[in-house]
């Protein structure tokens, strides 16, 4: 049984108000959405704000989702919109926010990366937001190209191409750093 075949009945039940079913959906998507938001926003606090907003909005508006099989794309679209709102708020009130743009390199409250000298997280932080989200979903969460494609409304070949290009870029920069 495919992932979508498992997902559709859950979405349909959640759409009818079944909180337990939505709990299962949340368990399935909580971390991927969070990783995508970290990729988009970089700051952990911002990502968590957008993450909460995303799932609350998803629960509230789920009855409006007509095609249950499109749930992942719909959910990630809500997440991207929430990230955009948070980013705009951050831009509007910059003084209230600490400069912590290197979240990906040293996430707050998390164990330090394996090696403090490891330049990889910093290099990931230099990628474009959507590419960063893509890398985190594929490399860290282990999502297939098809799953990422469904979430981002891209084609699977686009996901593969962008992912390969991102890894090549990271590799080149790592080599450059090690060389220097």
């Amino acid at each position: 049984m495919g992932v979508m075949e498992l997902l559709v009945p859950l979405v349909e039940r959640a759409r009818d108000g079944d909180r337990a079913a939505f709990g299962d959906l949340h368990a399935r998507f909580a971390r991927p959405v969070y990783l995508a938001l970290v990729g988009l926003l970089r700051r952990r606090e911002d990502a968590e704000d957008a993450w909460q907003v995303t799932f609350l909005a998803a629960w509230r508006h789920l009855p409006r989702l007509r095609r249950a099989d499109r749930f992942p794309g719909w959910l990630f679209r809500i997440a991207r919109n929430a990230a955009r709102d948070v980013a705009q708020r951050r831009k509007r009130f910059p003084a209230a926010l600490p400069d912590a743009s290197d979240l990906v390199a040293r996430p707050n409250g998390l164990p330090a990366p394996p090696s403090a000298a490891d330049p990889l997280p910093a290099l990931v932080g230099e990628l474009r937001p959507e590419t960063r989200a893509l890398v985190l979903l594929r490399a860290v969460e282990g999502w297939s190209a098809e799953e990422v494609a469904a979430a981002f409304s891209w084609s699977a070949s686009t996901v593969r191409r962008r992912y390969a290009r991102a890894l090549a870029l990271l590799r080149a920069r790592l080599t450059e750093r090690n060389g220097s």
Binding site: W51, W59, G109, P113, A139
Partner: protein, 325 residues
Amino acid sequence: MTHDLEARLRAAYAPLAPDPARADDLAATLLDAPQAPAPGRLGRVLPWGVAIAATLVGAFLLARGPAPADRAARPAHDGPAVTAFVDAHGRATLAGVDGRALRTWELGDLPIDLAIPAEIGAVLAAEVAPYAPPVDPDSVPRTPDAPTLGPAFRGPSPVALVIDAAPDVPWRHVESVLLAAPHAMLVDVTFLDPERGRPAVRQRLPFVGPAVAGDEGEARHYRVLWFPGVAVVLRPDGAGAPTAFLQRGGEPVFFVRDDGALADLAVRAAAARPADVESSLGLEVLPLADGDTITYLDTFRVLDALRDAGVNRVLFAAGSGRRTK
């Protein structure tokens, strides 16, 4: 190499997860949060309806074609000129001296509200103001109103007004633009042939200098040579065909769309016109009660014929009594 890189990424970010306290918060909120009601049939259909309507409106606007200001190149005018485009849909667009579109008016159904010529006149006046000739202080009457009246003594504007209208547009629409010309003291008017086969007709609106009218010190920019002695009247006949006649009893009626009849009219009008070089010829377009069938092309044909008879100064007057003053 790729697997090694992915492994390093996994190792670096594996612990990354939402703060458990925030996750608990969310779970608690979700327990109480209500769901929005599912949209009804109307809610599902309405967005599509709006999208389809917007598409149709867009297609309609595209089908109307480009704005009049983008029409084909027109004969250049010597010196500065503003151009009034009047399209077949009754839209009048003013193009400034540098060719940029200034504003468009929807002239709408006839009769046209006189407020529109006043608006057009205000825009024209602002556009040609930089070209206004200096005021001769000796010509300004020494009255307390002089500062107000001063601009009236600048004399006619050196900026020409070019009329570029569609052939079938009712003359009334073009007339709205002509009624606006005095607001900007424009006297030099060039009518372009809507069929582009003939040269443009250039006329000067009668202007013999400023005059202060007696009523409440109001400045009138034009001392119009009215009555000029002879006028050509255009009106549809009983069957709606555009005809012209000299405004004198017993004159025959000439069919505007007949070249021979028009030539005859021009000869008669020139002969009847007073020898005074400052005299203008009246041109009056009268509508029928149920609408106006005199088009810009009809009037242009008459102007063209009159030009050939040496008439270059025409006072335009409308059936409603409005005049270019």
